[in-house]
């Protein structure tokens, strides 16, 4: 087991390095030259103190200084990548990259990326975690019920609902929720995470936050229900037709016991990847939800950074996405072992 995990971790590291390198090369294609901009700006501020003739040479000097400072004094993508990682020294001989805890600098907020990601991550995780818990609490019992009472009126109704829900793009669901609850009924605020200008603590903060995240959470739960419900029902149906379930019924076990311990255990196997993926997904935030409800989470920050060309932030969030994807794959595989004893992890 330990060897397997170690092997997988090595593999993850390799893929991670490859993907981040690919992403890094992608960003190199984007037209942005921070050193150039900063050099221009500094030159502008020095405008009067330098004679016009020397301006060109002064600019060259400043440009080189900034290039060296930002580590862009070479065109070699590999070196740039290594510098970003913190494995290759800058001009001043020091390494300053990811391994040193420096994920870059946000031009837009003029602050280290790690610092501005914090609140966004918190917002995303509050909403995501609450929604994910609700989704699981609703879909699992409902999916089991539908599969057990297959073909009943309840099942058909829920099937229809989940087919429509599954085919509805999330943003249409969100538009409808905003329209209904925020615009017509006015139960919840349209957007945001807290009352503008407020600075609550303790119980007041909880109340205020609850008021603001209710609608996004409800919308997120509603939008996520359909697809998970479908999968839960399908895998439960498969499990119910297994021989072991028939045997359990034949030997006279109560149907509750048959369903919950025999069938559900088997149905869980295909669901593991979805549950694990869902929980890891909340770290990344829901891009569409955050955009529609104006929640300053990871997704919205990502969108904003793309449209404002704030490359270090994009890169950092993208790295998080890739990392989450890879780690959740690993956790999923490990969970298979937990759920299904037949899965022998001894490769």
């Amino acid at each position: 087991m330990g060897r397997y995990i170690a092997k997988r971790c090595l593999y993850i590291l390799a893929v991670f390095a490859l993907l981040t390198f690919l992403l890094f090369s992608l960003y190199r294609l984007m037209p942005a030259n921070r050193a150039y901009t900063d050099a221009r700006n500094e030159l502008q501020s020095l405008k009067n103190s330098i004679p016009a003739a020397e301006r060109e040479t002064k600019f060259e000097e400043l440009y080189l200084k900034y290039q060296r400072m930002y580590g862009t004094d070479t065109d070699d993508t590999v070196i740039l990548y290594l510098r970003w990682l913190g494995l290759y020294p800058f001009y001043d001989g020091k390494c300053n990259g990811v391994f040193q805890g420096n994920f870059g600098h946000s031009y837009e907020y003029n602050a280290p990326v790690v610092q501005i990601i914090g609140p966004a991550l918190r917002n995303s995780m509050i909403i995501g975690a609450v929604a994910e818990i609700f989704i699981l609490a609703i879909t699992i019992p409902l999916g089991i019920l539908c599969a057990v009472k297959r073909g009943s009126r309840l099942d058909r109704g829920i099937q229809t609902f989940s087919l429509i829900g599954f085919s509805t793009p999330s943003f249409i669901t969100y538009i409808m929720f905003i329209l209904l609850f925020a615009s017509i009924l006015r139960w919840f605020p349209v957007s945001g995470m807290k009352t503008p200008g407020s600075d609550y603590h303790g119980w007041m903060w909880v109340k205020d936050t609850l008021h603001y995240i209710s609608l996004p959470v409800i919308a997120l739960v509603f939008g996520g229900l359909a697809s998970i419900l479908r999968i839960t029902r399908a895998s439960m149906l498969d499990a119910l037709s297994l021989d072991c379930v028939r045997t359990a019924r034949a030997k006279g076990l109560s149907s509750k016991k048959v369903i919950l311990s025999h069938a559900w255990r088997n149905a869980l196997i295909p669901l593991v990847s979805i549950f694990v993926g869902g929980f890891f997904g909340i770290i990344g935030g829901a891009i569409m939800l955050e955009r529609m409800f104006g929640i300053k989470g990871m997704g919205l920050m990502f969108l904003d950074s793309i449209s404002k060309a704030d490359y270090d932030v994009i890169m950092f969030i993208e790295v998080i996405y890739v990392f989450i994807g890879l780690v959740s794959n690993l956790i999923t595989d490990l969970c298979y072992g937990l759920v299904d004893p037949r899965v022998r992890i001894s490769k």
Partner: protein, 658 residues
Amino acid sequence: MKKKKENIFHILARWFVRMFMGPKYEEKMYKKANKNIVIDDEKQSVPNDSELIVSPAKQALQGFLDNKFAVFALFAWVFIFAFVFIAPLFMPKYSDAYTEVTLKNLPPNRTMMKVPEELKNDIKMIDSYGPFSVGLSNAGKVYVWGCKKLGASGMDVEIPEEYKDIKMAMVAAGVDHIVAIGEDGKIYAWGSDRFGQYGRSENAITSSTIEAMPEELYENGVDVAHVKKLTCGYQATAILMDDGRVYVWGNKQTYSNMDNFLGREDIYDIDFTLNYIVGIDSKRNGIFTGTRGLYDTAKTSFSGKGEKMFTFLNGRKINEITATTANMCILLDDGSIAIVGDSVADTVDVPTLPEGEQFVDIKAGNYHYTALTNKGNVYSFGGDHYRQAEAPAKLQGVSKIFAGSFQSYAVDANGDYMDAWGFKGFLLGSDDVGADIWERMINGGRITMTVGAVAVIIEIIIGVSLGCIAGYYGGWVDILIMRIAEVFSSLPTIPIMLILTSLIAQMSLTTNQRLMMIMVILGVLGWPGFANITRAQILVARESEYVTAAQAMGIKEGRIAFRHILPNIVSVILVSITLRFAGAMQTETALSFLGFGVNYPQPSWGNMLSRASNATAAKNFWWQWVFTSILIIFVGVCINTIGDTIRDVMDPKTNSER
């Protein structure tokens, strides 16, 4: 008969037939080349009492046909798919970037040309500048029709209760206000007054960009017998008196030359374009705007060459001026007409009259002109986007004409309604720039469907061939390809697409190249699914006898993979195709919604929704997202139903359970 070499389409068609109708049917259709196929052949050859052996494919088809909803979904989807590709052919006037400021945010309404029944026998005048028209009967009663509720506030331009019993003498409509002069000389107005369209509100008097209604008019009204013309512009109004005095008021931001007309007493005729007030002064030898040289060339037709006004007139006088949004038409005292200003897209040129016929009256809509001749014939010309410049040929004996914003009305000598032509209204409403939602929905559907289809085709090409290679050859090839697939599928789809599309946004591409790039991105990122399925199926098929037999016969490996194994796994791929198509469509819709996929002005279902997605627009302009959303959901339900059903009927386990 010479055997034809099979091309790829032929092969695909044959597989399709084989899949749904069985190998026997395929043999008949493709090997014998015999047109008279007896389908019942098979049944006849089997004794009646023994059970028919049905091929799995046939059974699957039967299962599919048994599911009525799936059959309906298939037909509905094929219909929509065909419709969005065929219908644009019947929309020759559609263009992506079309905007119309006077028709924005209109609800579904087809009554813009519907003159009220009571007015039909008694028409005195009709006027319109925007989505609604106002009419006046000889009895002095005002009627309003068309889109009466305007803007986000839903402001109503129906005549207020307290004005209903007042006898009106003249009436005119702007884009959001109506001005009427009563028989008593008082000026009545209703609708929006935010930009000083009427009244003397605090805002109108103090604001420097608004010219408020003159106080004497507001207090005392005018001498109605001597009013020569009442006309409204975008958010402005002008009253012209017989003696050349002119009163102008309204939004000065739209009409920056308004100051030049204030207090003038030598105006012969006046009208509004979209940005200028144009007039004729008492000399009647040129167009007066207050700016010298503006509108100083005239031409006899839209395509003709302009001449200096002075040489063009050559001593003739201008009798009348009438203006559309971009150009104006002048009627000269010898009965000829001339065009001044720029022409717009979709223009029908000025007709050449037969010998002896002369223009006696001309009216202008927002883009078109309708002219009446001394023989009672009517001609329409000018902007023709809504077919408003196509007068019915059979119309004769007309004595009066009126032009609405995009409509024309013909009235006979008794004041009876004869005919109307032009724009009826938007079937599904208009969006925030005044484009037709129905047309954009169809054309957007074409783009969304194209993106989905092409993306899936790219996915199939990459995924299936790599999957075939991996599954068939195994070994290190398999490992390599599957590792690459794993890397691709662990990329977060939407974020990567956002980055790639924002990257291509910075390249200088034409819209079609951009669209192509989006399809390629969707396709290239989505192939691992197909590769996995194909590989898994091939691993199963590789162990089967016919492959061993083919190998024993010494057939090349590539041929075995693509010609022997692939046809047998095509059914499984088909399920993936339908579901992936739905997926690609949804991804494109989401990307465009976020503003990273298909960009305005090119329509797509996603970007049509993005501008109606805030709370205000979603509530007030519901038609801007409801219809498109319903269509998206409906198409999604159809495709998912088809995919689900195919999967169900092909899965022997679910079959046996039935």
